[in-house]
Symmetry: D3
Subunit: 237 residues, 6 copies
């Protein structure tokens, strides 16, 4: 049987850890191929600690962020690749967009995780979402690289932004990540430059866990919440 | 193993046929106990044809609508009960509300189907939704009839109103009803007083079927669409 | 040829002047039967000036407001009736609701003007809108007083509240009231108790006039703006 | 100098502790008169632990909840009163509404705190908000008990519901409650029947604290978030 | 008397047929000049059938789509022009934008039809809408090609997307297209590559027809629905 | 003590006068450094009167608009600078964006005023808002020009567009500008090319003044209204 694939499209190299680390660990544990595509290293906007070191260069920051992301991905059980498109601001031209299309066509993911549709604190995040959606649409087009096979309609789920209400993001699905929580927390700890976020996102997981129980009666302690872009289709509620 | 239950709360006696007949037939076929609770017979607002007959009385209209609903429910495989709360306007006092609470506590449904949150063409529909949600909340309260066992948190799904966009209703879940379509269509035909709706809701099912395919790649021909009130909780997307 | 009718449902006895006086005067001038139904006299919430007079009684305030409204309606060319349902808070039971239904069935209006859907400064206004819409729906039901003829589907337009953005009200239609502006202004001046509103609503009419020009190129100086509840249907844009 | 007053309108007897305990303690500490008006004791919906005790009666539960609320209010520095309107469902008739109006007219608060505008998990909460707003409007009307002095326009702030995004509630104001955090936490611990909420609302305060820093640069650890019903008016941003 | 003009701005070469074919045929029949501007041929995203033919080239697909569009436009009574801006993704630079401005200034349309403001299934559609609106604004600017005459404020109507609720598109106007339905259907049949859409859009027209009746009482069988970008301005409701 | 700074980012050279002239004059009067950054001169879209003069050139229009803006700024007490990015359409590349970032880093404003988030009549306005927000975010990034000091989190307020409801703009803050009204009005009169706007924006100020009173009881005659992008953070309501 073919191994199934889950694709995570992350604006910066650490986003996938805080926001989707549980989903990644859960599906990796189930034997899926989980791939994380980082559009940038987050080398300008989310590396304050490194930039405070004297003599720091852009290449050193990128390298540092890359290594962290690779270690975190390894802990979670995912592979990771980087597009180095810059951040603050992230800028993606059509050539880069078509490389994302190629990722869709090559990996043929069952579903895709990415950022929120809006974020007034971070314009790279909604841009990443836009690209993830636009590349998915192009990958469905028979006339784009017509020699390749088009993809179907993988669902797109939006992980939780830092300040959810300000981003008009609404949790529509709670994923129980209790079985892999320790792994997600271990991945947090790789992110030495963002230690202030460890406790923040541990609390997010606990709050979403309580809410998950409240919405279902299911026993669970830690959860990740997602918004859904497209309607679900099934033969059962 | 205990038989599972699905509850449909319908403002008028025919709503459940057009809007949730496929879900009812599908779950009945799977051996579930499906119960339809009609808050009114629709004796004033949705019985134009009967009222055009000379000498028609309110009781005759109610009786006619009751019989139709019973026959339709039988075709779909559901039981049906009626609260006779009046329609145009539907009016439900707390005593009636507590009877709905009792239905929740007795049937202990896995999930509930009801109307949309708004409907500028029909104020009975959103009132039914409000009551379905309020009764569910009260049924969760330990202090309401404390000698009874409280219920958990059954999801609530909102079926499609007649003019979806005007009701600010959005399809978030498509249920493939292709296997039971003939049964739903047969139930339509019981509704002799509303023949003009047979083709309308056949087309709705076909359109939602096409959209279901478009959102999933799943092969299907007929669908019912639902909006979700509460977030879904699961260990898988 | 039958005279056409326009119906205005106003929560308090002065609302119709500020908010729909131009529409009333325009259609009256065109020979329509224009009727204003005031649910209350506004005797508690909008009669500050009268209440400051020593020895004032509720009946005197009501009588004063009634006389003002009658004089204003006369200037505008409309008839007016009063339901005396109380205000601050307005409270309407089903018996009163059915009297509004009867107004619909008797007058058979081409269209209806009423308040906004929300108003955080005045809860009587959205209640009036709710009643205007609910009565319209019941008047369409064959089973309500089945011996009477049902009505069709008269459009409902919502006139401008005092603080439009706070009421989530949006202008979707601008009515050029320039030809009858003097008449509307004359009706303002009857409202001696609310002199502070004369200039306010003159400025509203001027601003909407400028916006009307901007959205159409039509030459006009004064306008009233309306939100539309139901979609327009026509054979031309 | 006159002591200023802050009014909290709470659906159930514990809501004010979790949701506004910081604001209460802060203003009490500043010498304000802080009054909490509880519409019900939460005797049915939020007293699961008490109901599990054999032989428990409704009066005992009410008494227990009243005592807890009084102790919590005392810790926070507020006075508290109870209207005993029932819960699950809360039901408030016009006589009770007018008692709330009287509270406004007597206390003449500078501002008011209450629940969110929507809550699909708890219909008592938005009803409390509606009443708080409706009573405020009636208290502004010259014709309601015309012998009393009307109130001005006290701002209304909506405290955080249990599942903010599901309630369409958005934080628009963060109040730094760090100086009184220990007091808020102490009040939590009075609520023995709802121990599971202690940690939940401690985490809420920490998350809002981090977000408060992020939106201002202000040094702070704990915050409460509020939505604003009416626009702010001032001579400075 | 000068012939009036209606302008349709269509992202891909077939969109105008499914979405606005009725409006086009109706106004053409009335003697208007109807012009369709296709930003792309839809050669990549909406030409699956052609691409399945062996040896197919991009130029052949474009030529095929052009011919189909020309035939469909002829049946409907419109002229059509093509900008060949590419699709999946459509990309329009300022030079192309200014060519659209020129179309506005040359044709001076009474009103404009284009796509929805959002579409999560197709990013070319909202881009076309954005361009149609931006070009209209620039065409109003005295300083753009100051030697030309500026245009007025032609209304912009948005035709129905494939999955209306997902696009946050709401029908605000129903156009009765019954008199020209056969012509619209004939134009469908030119689109041999998209046969699966013939029945889909026939059902759309029938559903909108039923809804048109429901909202007006007007006798009609087929309709097209439109959302309105700008408020309507008139001297009559 | 350091002088505090307020920054206004204006799409065209006159916007700041109509929309924020009161705030500018008020803070200038209080001794703040107020700087206005005009992204364009408004030389194409908002200079109709100049373009009607025979032989007018683009440079003359720009020069005329620049002089007007400088005179208006002087009256209001602000400095002004121009980026000359073009208008109708405004186009800003990353080099220009980084110049705005530099303005943030150099001026280190306490807060920022700019346009609305949407405007279907003017696409330059929301683009200016986007740039103001994006530049602010980049100015917060340690990795952007790491040798410079990052900025904090200055609040962003959105001034009133020409047709507020159509722009989905909502007043959340009313600034009392009564003490500086004469100065704002004097600045209007510099804008000789847009005389039709003098009365329009005088009426806007009066309407907002009345609403300011209504929302607070504060005595005031003229106001400017603003929407808030980020939540307010404080130790007092």
């Amino acid at each position: 049987m073919t191994q199934k694939t889950m694709l995570v499209i992350s604006a910066h190299s650490a986003d996938f850890v805080w926001r989707a680390g549980g989903a990644i660990a859960l599906y990796a544990q189930r034997g899926w191929n989980v791939h994380v595509l980082c559009l940038s290293f987050g080398e300008r906007g989310e590396s304050a600690k490194m930039w405070r070191q004297p003599g720091m260069t852009l290449e050193q920051v990128k390298q540092g962020r890359r290594e962290e992301a690779e270690r975190a991905a390894e802990i979670l059980g995912a592979s990771v690749s980087f597009m180095d498109c810059g951040d603050y601001p992230l800028r993606v031209d059509d050539a880069a967009l078509f490389r994302i299309v190629e990722v869709y066509r090559t990996l043929r993911p069952e579903f895709v995780l990415t950022h929120s549709l809006k974020d007034p604190y971070n314009f790279d995040h909604p841009l990443a979402t836009h690209l993830a959606m636009e590349a998915r649409i192009i990958a469905q087009a028979h006339g784009h690289c017509p020699e390749q096979e088009v993809i179907g309609a993988p669902p797109v789920y939006l992980f939780e932004p830092h300040q959810p209400e300000q981003c008009e993001w609404k949790p529509e699905f709670f994923l129980d990540i209790s079985p892999v929580w320790e792994r997600k927390r271990a991945a947090f700890e790789v992110m030495a430059a963002q230690e202030h976020l460890w406790e923040y996102y541990t609390r997010v997981a606990l709050q979403r866990g309580v809410q998950g129980v409240r919405n279902s009666g299911r026993k669970m302690q830690y959860a990740e919440a997602y918004q859904c872009v497209y309607p679900r289709v099934s033969d059962a509620f």
